[in-house]
Structure formats: C-alpha cells, structure tokens
C-alpha cells in the first residue's frame, strides 16, 4: 500500500445529550507522527474509536487519499489501512509471538493446517524491515511489557496498515523502553507510515511529534508543532488555563517514624515471592515515593501494608504497633488512609451514589450510623459538603459515582480517605488517568496532609509525579529496593535503577 493521507472531516459524536466530539477536523499526513493531546474526557479516545470503527459517528466523514470511505467496524478500518494498538494489549498470553500476530488471518497451507514456519518467516521479515527486534517463537507471557507492545505493533504491520494509532503506549514502559519505542516510531515514519500518538505526557509530545493536535471538551482547540510551542503552553491549551506542573511545596520537616517496614517478604496470587526482604520507614511530615515500573512488587507491597494480603515474613508497624497480617479494618483504624491503585476496582462501588461511596469504609463511624442503623441524613449532608469541599463535579451527591469522569471519581476516593484522622496516607498511582487539573488538585491535597504531619507513602510509575512529590525516592525493582535517593536525582539515573541497576553501581557509573 502506498503512503496514505487520512482526513477526518466534521466528526460529531453524541452519547445521548453528551457531545463527545463536536465538528472535529483532523488530517494525518503521510509519514508524520501526529500527537493527539487532551485531558481525560476531551474526546480523544472517542475520536479514535470512531476512526477505528468501534463507535459510529453521528455526522462527518472519513477520507483516505481524498476519497470517502465508510468504516463500520474494526475490520473495515484495517482494510482501509488503519491499525490501532490499544492501551491494554490484546494478546493471547500462552501463544507465541507468531501465533498472536497471525491470529485472525492465519496462513493455512495446506488448508486447514496452520503454516507455522511460514508465519514465523513472515514475521521475521516484517520485524527486520521496521527494526522491530522480536523472536517469533517466544511465548508472549514470558516477554516484558515493552516486547509485548512490539508484538501488538507487528500485528498491525503484518496487516499492511499505513496509519497506526497508539493509545497511551508509554504508560506501561520504563524510560528506556519508551526511548526504544520512539526509535521504532521514527523508523516507521521514515518508511512512509504515519502514526497517531495519544498521550498525556507533555515531554514525550515535544520529543517525538511532528504535529500536535490539542483537544478540549470534544473540540480541537489547536494544531501546532513542537517548535512553535512549549510544555506549559500545551498544558494551558488542554485545561483552558495556565497550570502549575511543579508541585508547590516547602521543604519537609520530618518527625517521628510512623511506618516501619522491616525485611518483609510477600507472595503474589500464584505463590511466587514478589516482595523480597524490603525495609523502609516513613516519617510523619514527609512524602516517600516508591518509583518503579508496574509489576515489580509495588501492588503486593501496598496490599500487605493495608492488610489485604498476608505477609510471609518480616514486620510492619504503624506508630510502633505491629499490623502485619492484621485485618484491613484494624489497619484502617490505626489511622491509615488508602487510595488504591485501581479506583474502579478497589476504591469505589460504581453502582452506588457519591454519598454512599464517601462512607464506604466509614460506615461504622458514629457520625454515620448508630445501633446498626445508617444515618442517611448525616451521610447525605457529608456527601453534599465533600462535593463542595473537593470540587467534585456532579449535579448532586446522590448521583451514581459511575456517571462521574475519572478525575472526579478519584476525588471521591481522595475525599473519603482524607475524612478520617490520619497518621499514614498510602496513595497508589494517585493520579493515574487524571487530567492536569485533577492531578494538580490531588497533589496539593497530598502535600497539605504532609504539612499537617501525616506520613505519606506514594507509589507511582510516573517519574514526573515521583520527582515532583517526593521528599525521598525509593526505587523498586524485582521486589527489592534498589536504593533510596533524593528527588534531585536525574531521570537517567532513576531510569537505570528502575531497570534493575543498583543505586551504588549507578552512582559509581559502573552500570551499563
């Protein structure tokens, strides 16, 4: 297929009364990397879902090389040379790379037998052409995330797509892996393919984009190039006001140790040791941030700290009281606030109202119940007050929490966890998937609590967040602590530690 120009004209998509896209125009030129930037709910994903045929549009048209095409489903999109790599990979873990790539379009020679050798050869050829180094015979579940992503890209390339949509591709990658991905993206565009790159990360946009389209509230607000803009200008375009990307905080004044973790081992669901002899302590009035690529034991560590997972050995104490292997309720009662990693799975009951969600772990609090009977009036008053206090955007506090945007859902969780007397605040990925405005808000609340004397433990895979928030940074890799470093540590050094290099080695410059 020759290089292809893709044009979206006047796309409007409504969900009921909500307009997700309003008269959007977007042109993807052959061979360009086009960044699509915008807050959550700005309509980027909807637009791409329209383009990929997953959602039908109300108005507008799609043109390929100036000819109108109809895309009813993803099959049509692929036939028209449009491919998409979703944020969550769609691979069969137990299949090999080759099997995954050909799945859905298997070479059967002679029919009906799968031509494995031919498939592997085909994949080697495609990966060589685009500089994607992947072993076609490797089993996908054994591959690191960055490799799995390459398999997804290979899947698209194997189907001769000319325009590749990458939905938040760097969210799961280490800085090094992200660099490698950028290399691949450049080599693809060098061969005439074009890429639509959806991201939140402003630095990446400026580093990789040829052109940038910023969306806000369903409309395109600007199309620009990296040369013509700056990080803060882009952020301002996204939220419609100037934002402060640096967290404004005074130096920490740490006091007594609140959380002490000593030589803790934790096993994951499969019985494999995922936290190996980890020790750290968090003081009142400081923020300790744990950096690391997801899946290096952070989730299990937090679960162990909050009583959700048993500890195989080692001790955890909060203000001198041992809480290892205690019930979740007793940990919460020890003055722990927990903002879980996945708000929809662990933090909220989506089918309940904001009011109810604001008291999920406070229902036995005398403020909200007496003699086993819920005080609905107090619960509702509390909801109305928190709505105001935390600027949760909803018609009223009785609406279902599922109707809120991600940022507002997170505010509900934050509001709830901060409405107790806290000694320790554990925040897992506190701003995942949030827009710039909400990120700023959540960060301010975290710092405010630190200043009020709460010990704060932040677990985040966003390096920007870690360096902005932390008073000390602990880096986790493979269930171990790679070291604790000051927030002034360079990104490169943190990146190397996140990839498994020891702190001392990195500092000595001996690491690869």
């Amino acid at each position: 297929m020759p290089p292809m120009k893709l044009e979206l004209r006047g796309i409007t998509k409504r969900f009921g009364s909500l307009v997700a896209n309003r008269d959007v125009n977007l042109t993807i030129e052959p061979g360009e990397i086009h960044c699509l930037l915008g807050e959550n709910g700005a309509g980027k994903s909807t637009l791409m879902n329209v383009l990929f045929g997953m959602v039908s549009m109300n108005e507008g048209e799609i043109l390929v090389n100036d000819e109108r095409v109809v895309i009813k489903d993803p099959k049509d999109a692929v036939a028209n040379g449009i491919g998409m790599v979703h944020q969550h990979f769609m691979l069969v873990p137990v299949f090999t790379v080759a099997e995954n790539v050909v799945l859905g379009a298997e070479p059967v020679r002679p029919w009906p037998f799968l031509d494995r050798i031919g498939a592997a050869r085909e994949i080697r050829e495609v990966s060589r052409r685009y500089g994607l180094d992947v072993d076609p015979d490797a089993v996908v579940e054994n591959l690191p995330i960055g490799m799995q992503q390459r398999v997804e890209i290979l899947k698209a390339l194997d189907r001769d797509v000319e325009v590749l949509i990458l939905d938040e591709p760097t969210a799961v990658l280490t800085p090094q892996e992200a660099e490698a991905l950028f290399g691949i993206m450049r080599s693809l565009t060098a061969q005439g393919k074009s890429i639509v790159f959806i991201t939140h990360k402003l630095k990446e946009v400026l580093a990789i984009a040829d052109r940038i389209t910023v969306m806000r509230l369903g409309e395109v607000v600007a199309t620009t190039t990296p040369a013509e803009t700056t990080e803060s200008a882009l952020a301002a375009l996204m939220v419609g006001r100037s934002v402060n990307l640096v967290v404004d905080k005074a130096p920490a004044r740490p006091r007594d140790v609140v959380l002490a973790v000593d030589d803790v081992y934790v096993e994951d669901d499969r019985g494999l040791t995922s936290v190996r002899g980890l020790s750290l302590s968090v003081h009142a009035g400081e923020i300790l941030a744990i950096a690391g690529v997801q899946g290096n034991g952070q989730t299990e560590l937090v679960e162990a700290l909050t009583g959700l997972r048993s500890v195989a050995s080692g001790s955890i104490s909060i203000r001198g009281r041992n809480v290892a292997n205690r019930s979740v309720r007793s940990v919460l009662h020890a003055g722990v606030g927990h903002i879980p990693e996945d708000r929809q799975r662990n933090g909220l009951v989506l089918t309940m109202s904001i009011d109810d969600n604001l008291v999920l772990d406070l229902q036995h609090d005398p403020r909200f119940s007496r003699f086993g009977m819920r005080n609905l009036k107090a619960i509702h008053e509390n909801g109305a007050r928190r709505l105001e206090e935390f600027d949760i955007r909803a018609a009223n506090s009785a609406v279902l929490v599922s109707t809120l945007s991600g940022g507002n859902q997170q505010k509900v969780v934050v509001a709830r966890e901060l409405s107790r007397d806290l000694h320790l605040l554990i925040c897992s990925q506190p701003t995942r998937g949030l827009d710039v405005g909400s990120i700023e808000y959540v960060h301010r609340e975290i710092v405010r609590n630190r200043d009020a004397g709460v010990a704060v433990l932040v677990i985040s895979s966003e390096l920007d967040e870690v360096t902005a928030l932390a008073d000390r940074i602990a880096v986790m890799f493979g269930g171990r602590l790679m070291g604790i470093v000051p927030p002034s540590t360079s990104r490169d050094q943190l990146g190397l530690m996140m990839a498994g290099s020891d702190h001392e080695l990195v500092a000595a410059g001996a690491a690869p």
Binding site: F15, S45, T46, N49, F52, G53, M54, V55, D73, P74, K75, A77, V78, A79, M84, H86, H88, M90, V92, L103, G104, A105, K155, R159, T306, G307, L308, S327, V328, R329, V331, L332, H338, P340, Q344, R345, N346, G347, L348, V349, L350, T351, M352, D356, L360, D361, Q363, H364, S369, G372, M373, R374, L376, S402, S405, G406
Partner: protein
Amino acid sequence: MLDVAGGDHDSGPPTTGSSVLLRVAIRIRAASTLKVTALAFVVGLAFGALLIILTTPALLRSWGGLFSHPGGTIALNAKSIWGDYELLFCGGVFDPRAVWAAIQHSNNANWTTALSPLSSTLTFATPLILAGLGLAVGFRTNLFDIGGQGQLIGGALGAVYVGFTVHAPAPVLVLLEVLAGIAGGLLVAAIPALLKAFSGAHEVITTMMMNYAMLNLLVYLVSVSPFQRPGQQQGESKSIVPAGQLPKLFGSISSSLQVNAGFLIALVAVGAVAWFLNRSTLGFELQMVGANPDAAKTAGVSSRRVIIIALCIAGALVGLAGMAQVSGVDPPYVSPAYGGTIGFDAIVVALLGRNRPLGVLFAALLFGALDAGGHFMQVNSPTNIDYSLALVIQAVIVFCVATPALMVALFRLRASATTQAGLASGGWAK
C-alpha cells in the same frame, strides 16, 4: 443479583460483541422495569394465544377456511382466545359478575365466589413473596442461592414439628412455629454458607445439593416416628394442631378461602427487608460485597462474615415461607410432595422483581394471579385449556425480562474479564 452485580468498567457504551441481540438487550435493560414487564406480559399473552390455537383442534381446523370466510375464522379464534383469557383474569384478579352478584345479594356463598380469585392469588403469592425476598437478599450479595426448595422444606419441618408436639395457646404456638420455621431454613442455609466462607465451595453447587438432601430427609422423616402419622402408608406427617394453624383472613365467610395471616407476615417481611437493605449498616455491607467485593475488602468489610450472614438471612426468610405454607394452607402437614416448585419459582420471582423488596412483592403477586387464574381457567374453559398455559405465560415473561439482564451481565463480565479481547480479534480478522 444481575442488575446490581459488577460494574461498568468502560466509560463508553458497551459496543463489545456489538450484536443486534445484545444491543436490544441493553436497550430493554435501560427501559423502566414496569414498562418492560408490561410489554413482556403482552408478549406472553400473544404467545399463549398461539398455543391456544395450536392445541385446540377446532380452532386449528378453522384456519383451513381462512380464505373462504376470513371474517368467521378470525372471529372464532378471537372469541375462543378472549374467552380463555377472560377466565384467566376472572380466576386470578376478580370476576366483575361475581362481585356484582355479591353486592346485590350479600350472602356468604356469593361473597365466597367473589373473593375466591383474590384469595387464591394471595395464597399462591405468599410463599413466593417470602422465599423471593430471601433469595433476593442473597442475590444482592452476589450469592446465587438456588437452595430455596431445601430451605423451604427445612422451615416446614421445623414448623410442623412444633405444630404437632407443643401444646400452647394459639398466639404462642404460632410464634414458636415462626421461630422454628426460621431456624429450620437458617440451618439448611448455614451449611452452604459455612462451606463457602471457610473453604470457598461454590454456593450454587452446595445449595443445589442441599435441595436433594432435604427432599430425601423429608421423605425419610414422614415415614418414621415422631413425624409419621400413624396408619398412613403414603408417608405423611402429623398435622399441626388447629390452634397452631395460621388464621384464615376470610375464615368467617368460608373455610375454602385459603388466604391467611401468612400474607400479612409476608407484607411485614417486605418492609423489614427493605429497611434492612436501605437503612442498616449490615445491609449496606451486603450490597457492597455484592456490587464490588474488591472494594468491600479494601474498605475493611469481612466478606466471610457477610457471606454467612446473607445466606443465613436468605435461609431464614425461605424457612419462614415454608412455615407459612404448611401452617397457613391446607393440608397442615408435610408429605413428600410438599412445596411443589415454590423454591424454584422464588428464584424467578426474585429475578423478575430485580431483587428489590417491592419488586419481589409485585412479581409474586403477578405469578400468584397467573397460578390462580390458570387453575380457574382449566376448570372452566369450554375448550379444555390446560393450566400449563399460565406457566407458559410466566415463562415467556421471565424470558423477556430476565434474559436481557442475564445477557448484558454475561457480556459485561466477559468484556471486562478479557479486556475487550473479543473485540480485538474480531477487528483483526481479515
């Protein structure tokens, strides 16, 4: 269970699988329950009409003459179908002529005829309300308790035993029977509850097995002392003494009007369960576990405790249904045939009532009316329409109302479990 369970993990509309069927299902589920149930009822009647035609030879033959005299054919069929449905209505809701006759000539015989549809509807509905409420409590906790039949038998055995052994004044005896019924159902449910809480054994399997266990226990008990009624070969228990039987509400008019104080107990239970679910902290915890067990765990709710409590409440209410059935409706003893299919019908009633107390009440009344009307129709129909027609209509209603919820739930579950993998492979297939 179905419409409260799980969560919408994607913000967009679920286009996953995007089959026409699923889209229809989603639309049906989004519409108001009342509207859907009413439409389902109409579909049920239409389906029933078709069956009336197909099973009545005279009507079937008449279609041969459709082209020679179309008017006559249509009229004959319509008249016959109308006649049967009129009987269904008169037997299940009320018979205007009988009511009018009773008002004009007020006497016991006329009033018996006039009140009989209401009485039998409420009689059929009573155990369904109680058992449906119990199962709904389980479903709201995402526990699919299908052991209604076993718990019903447990409740009835407890009530009967107290009813023929204890000698006490009527109110005390009835109260003791209520407690025994609750205890019986609760014990039967407690076994699966403990198994689930401590070993993770799935409640669907264990409650189902308890049904068989209880049925066999019943068959055994009625053939041995102390339950067996002396001189009975068939296997029947002794009867609850008259003082221990729930008073009939229209007993002063005629003893054949079966509706009894059990219905009042059921109404109280509707209010109590509604209060429990909406106002109590425990009810709130149950629903948290039902709607999102992970969030409940993170919030410090012990799912083990909640599972035990929810299943025990379910068992207690179903046991109460068993008690109301045996001590309120003739005969006042248990036999191997006891309970019919109440325990299973209650599952459907809970589903149809969307696991909400008021919904269960109305669903049970609808089922009761169809049961009562069906029996009346079978007796009085000139075309020998069978009672099963009412069951067919019930089934069609449940299909129309419950399957969309089921389908959406299943598809949602799959969509979130595999993170739209189905969609991806669909998309990539050339």
